[in-house]
Amino acid sequence: MASDDAEREATGDGIGEVIAGDEASEQAERDRASWQLGKSHRKVDAMERMRGVTRYTDDLKLPGMLHAKILRSPHAHARIKSIDSAAALAMPGVFAVVTGQDFKIPYGIIPWTPDENALAVDKVCHVGDGLAAIAAVDEDTANAALRAIVVEYDVLKPYFDPEEALKVRDREGTINPYSRKGNVSKHVLLEFGDIDAELQRADLVIEGDYFFEGTTHGAIEPHCALAHVDGAGVLTVWSATQVSHYLHRELAKVLELPAHKIRVIQPPLGGAFGGKSEPFDLEFVVAKLAMKTGRPVKLLYTREEVFYAHRGRHPMKMKHRTGFTKDGGLLGVDARTILDGGAYSSFGLVTTYYSGQLMCAPYVFPAYRFDSTRAYTNKPACGPKRGHGSVQPRFAMEIQLDKAAAALGLDPIELRRRNAIKAGEKTVNEFTVGSSGFLECLEKVERSSGWIEKRRDLPFGRGIGIAGSTYISGTNYPIYPNEMPQAAVQICLDRSGRARVFSGANDIGQGSNTMLAVIVSEELGIPLEDIRVLSADTDLCPVDLGAYSSRITLMVGNACLEGAQRLRRKVCASVAKRWGIPRQRVTLAGRMAIDREDPSRHVDSAQAFQWAEADHGLLGETGSYNTPKDRHGEYRGGTIGASPAYSFTAHVAEVEVDAETGLVEVKTIWIAHDCGKALSRKIVEGQIEGSTYMGFGEALMERHAVDPAHRGVHVGPSFLDYRMPTFLDTPDLEAMIVEAPDANGPYGAKEAGEGPLHSSIPAIANAIYDAVGVRLDRLPFTPQTVLAALRQREEKERAGQLAPHKPAAQTSRRSA
């Protein structure tokens, strides 16, 4: 924006540059007060949802629509000998059947691991694995038809323990049909610096074994897909997906249709959290059934099916050795991890990297080694859940730090301060950290929680704990290698003073549609209600990679900002021309174009846009974004975990532990999250609160597992048994926004959607230790686990091996 040449380039025709801007007006333009950023907004699409008007995928109906259901394996591991669907097909109201034979081409969200088929071809690999599907007039008929399908299975030995599965060498015990390495799904070993030397010279080495049980997403909307082939032969698939573009590509591949004959539309969606971020069987099934029957076909998962589709958080068994100096300086981390991947890869290749790569901030240390192995098992596949692959090791890491603080007699917050990575610094695994507000996060939670007083005064049974974390604002590289922009947005202004924004970005409830509107509003000076966002339709919108790894605000926001600024310059130039002033003196806000130096001179936006359209032609601009490529090392795997910007979080949790019942009550959680710049205040707070609530649920009560004693069925595939916190369970959450603007983010913005989950869990674990002196190294922190740990501690105290915890308490040890 500084040079005249750049400005001429920007408007394309020199209009409005007749009068050169001076330095003062340039600066005023750059420094102009924001009229939208950081405020609280009414989301652009909330009111219709609240009025019950919005159509989510299952609310869509097309004439002649059929309903589909999938037949799922009751066995955890079996060969399919035969499928006889003749009786099913003969039933009135049944239109078509498909099996794995219709889906021979395998796929996978990660191009290097296409190891699943839409319906199982030769074998089923977990209870719930789909192998046939029916399209019928209604669901009842489809379900009845499923029961009429006769399947002959050759039951095989199932493996539910990842370490047992890893020992298998023969073909029969190899779970995934495409695996070439037994039940090893992925192995990563990376080493930086000399970890053995650092641990050797350390004054203190903390060793710990941790187990993070699996959890699942639990979005209230089950997966749903609807497919229809129109008269021109175009297949349209409506799906509750986070990743329209990747789904589009896999549909083309598996169905053997050219991509331009497929249209993917993501209707408003009821929550996802990573559980809808890859293709699922139902999408291929409804497409194929629609192609076969010539009628629209819809499939809605039952809640039970959602549990079996899973793709949730990997159980991880972690062994950490962490070295410290006596002043609490972090010297290095040596981590070994076994990931329980379930039957298919999903994002597992990436997860395995993330289990180590994302631990190298917010603390700086000179040496690091992580050795992670992902195993196939006969269970629903694990994939990405909010905080993908780094929540589990963060749990281990933050407890290790807490143990060190206790051993060294240091305040745990101070210990973290001493090791905090600085803005612009490189991590030990060669990622460049942009901005960092981590110290401010620590300071805010310390102050708001009354940390210092509470550490000193809380009696036995009450405790306070801290943890810190970091997360990526999008992955530096797309899932399939290419050099094209990772985000692009198209914006049009019309003669009524309104804007339309076209973006491929998937709004999954996190408010990305509103984020785009806020940026256009900020730059073009029109209110949100004058901006219409059309998103996630592959026919109308530019390609966007989707809602995963917290990329949308940074990447799509940047693309939107570029397009909006191009339009702004054109509009301002046209107004300036008519007023005879430099372009930079014109500002846009409040539905007006205003002379910054004489605000009494103004016109409304409609007039300004009409002038601009008269001068420049149609006011349509695009903006694109691609990531900088100099943020990571050159070693193999060095790109995984690289990001244009990192967010930072600190959590303090206050708990009360009833030593008689083992019940843990989390009283309050204070969260400070550095999101760079909050573009829309309440939306960012909502992400902080929602992430923290989700971590809290994992810490206290959520458990996704199968029962080996019952042939590998899920222990409780319902919201009754899979316990997610209700209004009554959830503690007070005090969310604080910290802003350390990052040069790579739009207006400095970084992510807020996943980062704030990570440190909630270890903060609670550390608070429990402060309360009653027990270290919980596995999740969830159920009353049984707490009581068992308390009993162990009491025995040690009785044997004189441990001093009583918080004995200076004036009240009795058993007080609640």
């Binding site: 949802r49 209230i220 909307e221 089950p222 809640r303 409830g509 909502g686 959450l733």
Partner: protein
């Protein structure tokens, strides 16, 4: 094939309705598949999540666990009818909008109907604890509940204020 349909009569959002449906259908199925009132959502179809919450004669009920025939002759209110109760946008809907209490919005219709019943019953400003108690049967996975509670309390304040204004005018 489904059993032969039966005829049902009920009032839905203030309007008398006659609809034919199989006798084993739930109220949720009738609302969504016969009356195209898709505001009430199917989250689990077994009464665990509350996304299907409607009101029957003003009392919050789980439509997925209510046979449609049990609504015969009764007054059903769904989220589509909420605005009718307030002549446009209900104060609860407005408060949710101002507080960003709806993220994905899937649980919101059920929550709004549970909350409306609470506010109507209390007829005054409510406490956070009362809100949590009344909404304990509605799961939300996005918000962590904080802003929903903010919004319901705020709406109760707005409605109590409006009530006292009306009472004043009546004198």
């Amino acid at each position: 094939m489904s059993p032969a349909a039966i005829m049902l009569s009920m009032t839905v959002n203030g309007e008398p309705v006659q609809v034919a449906a199989p006798p084993h259908w739930t109220l949720l199925e009738v609302l969504r598949y016969r009356l195209d009132l898709i505001g009430s959502k199917q989250g689990c179809d077994k009464g665990d999540c509350g996304a299907c919450t409607v009101q029957i004669d003003g009392v919050p009920q789980l439509a997925c666990l209510t046979l449609a025939i049990h609504a015969e002759g009764r007054a059903v209110t769904t989220v589509e009818g909420l605005g009718l109760l307030a002549g446009g946008v209900h104060p609860l809907q407005d408060a949710f909008d101002r507080h960003t209490a709806a993220q994905c919005g899937f649980c919101t219709p059920g929550i709004l109907l549970s909350a409306e019943a609470l506010l109507r019953k209390r007829g005054r400003e409510v406490t956070r604890a009362e809100v949590c108690e009344a909404l304990a049967g509605n799961l939300c996975r996005c918000t962590g509940y904080t802003k929903i509670i903010d919004a319901v309390v705020d709406a109760s304040r707005v409605m109590a204020g409006a009530n006292s204004q009306e009472a004043g005018r009546g004198e």
